[in-house]
Subunit: 336 residues, 2 copies
DNA sequence: CTGAAAGCGCTTACAG
DNA sequence: CTGAAAGCGCTTACAG
């Protein structure tokens, strides 16, 4: 891999001390312009890049942000692009992303603790947040910097630390309002199986439910027995076979919505005509199905930039709630 | 975040020198059992964990493997779980994963170069390999350790470095054989749009094509104009509207296959009866569609463990070709 | 088996 | 503005 150029060699090449080279790198404003150019020329000539490890040891900053990869195949379509965007946002601040795996739940805390104890990361970005997530309270109690995508919905008290979230409840309520305006009064919900403790799951359902209640509509919900299209199709079948079949179905994710669409097709019901269907995430699936799936876009760029901002904020902002954007397609033409 | 315990404190606590503590950590066999226990007790009592940065500086090993995140939304369903499994495999060797983003193509090389120059990573895992991938040749020429998921298909010469791949050609050929045995003689292919330079794309198509040629079958292929279900549906429509409509369609991915299924349904053609359809990846989509999609499972665990093995191999093994496993479901009951 | 010494490649006050 | 000194927290030959 070749021998790396060190700061010492740059100093020798430029005929200055090592500290001056360091200053050129870290505090160029306080070095004489002539010296500056001379050193920069040496850096250029030798192709010098500072050794990050040595810098980290001296500054006591790993320059790395930890992010735990969850195992949720059904969320891949959203999480994979999210991770890409998040990584870019972190890189823009001159740091890098360390990804790791951990056991689910409270056991996983140990992995976070180790990473901090070893000084392998400076802070964490949390996602796949669950209700009363133990990670948040633990990290907050130790003073470990972090920012969470997703709220923890504590039974009492406030969110334990900085968070960014998309207003799933608000978006689903808006969908209900628009569907109602379009003449629907049987607006059902298809959600994840009850094992899913993801905070966003309940949030989305609550938005649908509260708005139905406010409008005096019936509240029928069914749950996919697995996080799959097929599970959603069965849930939709249950609803459609009921005494008051829905004319619109709000699904908690695109994958579930596509499952619902499949069930409609099987019954020769036309999406966007006989039954309107909406999804969530605006993933590749939403543009993939025939005519397109009306969905809620999560503003990934805004989410990730807010996360990075909160990571560095000194007790300023503590929570950022972003609106989901309803993207209309033919499965539910609610833009009319 | 609290002050970290250092090796120095452990030494003081145990009443030994710092080097002895270091030996307990890195070469326990050559320290007296009594001393060993004494030091271990001190480590335990203080909850000591070595500072990774300091260790890295001393050993000249970052302990980090670099992995570039590609932006390919259509591949999320496969890549997201793959990354999780890969990360676990890396962690089992005591190292961690650093993920990063880079421009596509030759421009991206600079990012790899920087990472190495800064000693931020020790090696790379490459994926999303394209034909004649410039990364491989560059890394190999610099002696940077890496292992590639996917071959680069050089026009001449050998693979530039250690690789692991799934035999896409072999799996597709096997699909054709089985479809032919089941009585099909119009076996078409639906592939990605031609912009996709992913090596695996051509590999899969070649397997289908060569086997069709060998069996004396016609070779009709159509391409999704975008990496989406909808694009695949249009490709399938072209084939089905042709003079000799296929009775079986081999698709290059699950997403494309699901698009094909949609087109069949639109035409009231029954998958697995009127037209047989196969996918690739055995992703969540394959089990998600009604009746299930016959697909080719990529052995993720074997792939990642081979990658990690090759990373550390001293010019031993240089290539690992793994078979894809055909998973039969009702869209193409080729197990009969 | 154990410890004093040097060093990994930087940065950070602090003199000059 | 520039440089000599100390230090970040480890590991690695090398004496003893």
């Amino acid at each position: 891999m070749g021998q790396a150029v060190t700061l010492r060699q740059v100093a020798a090449h430029a005929g200055v001390s090592r500290q001056t080279v360091s200053n050129v790198l870290n505090a160029p404003q306080r070095v004489d312009p002539v010296t500056l150019r001379k050193v920069q020329a040496a850096i250029e000539a030798l192709g010098y890049q500072p050794n990050r490890t040595a810098r980290s040891l001296a500054t006591r900053q790993a320059g790395l942000i930890g992010y735990c990869l969850a195992r949720m195949p059904g969320r891949s379509l959203f999480m994979d692009p999210f991770l890409h965007t998040l990584t870019e946002a972190i890189e823009e601040t001159g740091r890098r992303m360390l990804v790791f795996t951990a056991p689910e739940g409270a056991q996983g805390i140990e992995t976070y603790a180790d990473l901090i104890a070893q000084r392998a990361v400076d802070a964490f970005i949390l996602s796949d947040t669950v209700d009363e997530d133990p990670r948040h309270t633990w990290l907050a109690s130790r003073g470990v910097p972090f920012a969470s995508f997703g709220r923890t919905w504590p039974k009492q008290g406030e969110q334990p630390g900085p968070w960014v979230d998309v207003d799933g409840a608000g978006a689903c309520a808006e969908l209900v309002r628009r569907l109602h305006s379009a003449g629907h009064d049987q607006i059902a919900f298809v959600g994840w199986c009850q094992r899913v403790t993801m905070g966003a799951a309940k949030d989305r359902q609550r938005g649908w439910q509260d708005e139905c209640a406010r409008l005096g509509l019936s509240e029928q919900a069914a749950y996919a027995d697995s996080d799959s299209m097929d599970g959603a199709a069965r849930a939709a079948a249950t609803l459609l076979d009921g005494p008051t079949p829905p004319t619109a179905i709000v699904a908690a994710s695109d994958l579930l919505a596509v499952g619902v669409l499949g069930e409609l097709r099987r019954r020769k019901l036309r999406p966007g005509h006989d039954v309107w269907v909406t999804g969530f995430d605006d993933s590749v699936l939403a543009t993939s199905v025939e005519g397109g799936l009306t969905s809620v876009r999560q503003p990934t760029e805004e989410i990730t930039s807010a996360l990075v901002r909160l990571l560095d904020a000194e007790h300023g902002e503590s929570g950022v709630l972003l609106a989901g954007q309803i993207v209309c397609r033919s499965s539910a033409p609610v833009d009319l």
